[in-house]
Symmetry: C2
Subunit: 207 residues, 2 copies
Amino acid sequence: MNDSEYPSKLLENAVAQIATLPGVGRKSALRLVLNLLRRSEAEVLQFSNAFIQLKQEVKYCAKCHNISDTELCNICSDSRRDNTVLCVVENIRDVMSVEATHQFKGLYHVLGGIISPMDGVSPSDLNIDSLQQRIVTEGIKEIIIALSTTMEGDTTAYYLYRRLNPTGVKITTIARGIAIGDELQYADELTLGRSILDRIPFDSINK
Amino acid sequence: MNDSEYPSKLLENAVAQIATLPGVGRKSALRLVLNLLRRSEAEVLQFSNAFIQLKQEVKYCAKCHNISDTELCNICSDSRRDNTVLCVVENIRDVMSVEATHQFKGLYHVLGGIISPMDGVSPSDLNIDSLQQRIVTEGIKEIIIALSTTMEGDTTAYYLYRRLNPTGVKITTIARGIAIGDELQYADELTLGRSILDRIPFDSINK
């Protein structure tokens, strides 16, 4: 056996590559590579080419910056949707999460991140200029800020509020409160306090 | 949005491919693909080509069937190793596990699986003929059967014992007992019983 713990450089390289994925350790990387190795060459090509093709051919919607196969994404080009309301989200995964609720019929705007000095992400790295432009040129009436309720999310939301308020657009944010199915005794004080301050008419919850 | 929950077919395809890996669900597959998408094209090519190259160029040792970059693997071609003892294992991962113990200085023989009627694996699917041949042509004095102590592993071990016993080779198997660091109260009865039957001289444990 050579100095490495792997009997083959090719194997070692494949394990090292798959271990670059977040949350995949060396042990499970080896398991995954051996699983790939048991497949036919055609299957391995299909596997690997999916990522190359995605990277080389992916487009982002010219309007909302969502990932898309066409110049305008399916949401932006859907005439049945309300084009006066924008839901501002951090990334395309959040677009998918909001879409999965079937509760939003407006359009999106993907920031491409949130402000995070720790990670070196400043407002200029995000799609904020284009958001400001859209509000004016598309005649947007309301923007819903749908960011994580973390420190970075709140910072970004506050920054957006200050930047966009002068345009006169109505700015809202998603409700904070007790998650449906949660027990009160396990709710944190901040959230519980907020949910009392922001209490809603009882007959609105069944609508 | 189209009928799919994904905004892009390319994205959907990449997620579907990575979700073919064992233990990777749809949600984490999306997370992994978005991580890949943030990398440069060169990095994605490096990632994907590692698996293609492994599949297209991988070799197996002509003697022991371990994965190898050369015709004979590093272990089989290492003259310092004892070429009269063979450790019989299920797969290349088990070679790596035994190597990591630094307790074995002989050679290996990789079966390429274990007998499992449930999975349609019969003795003829395994590298057993070549094992029998090696015992004769290489003048092997001992084979150590190092298979999992599961029903399939035991079945395979018993099959090997019956096939190889006529050659007159000494056949041993790895010790079963209480794992080092385990508490007796949590040991199962079979293992504990076995460890009493197979008790060893006390002064041998520190050797």
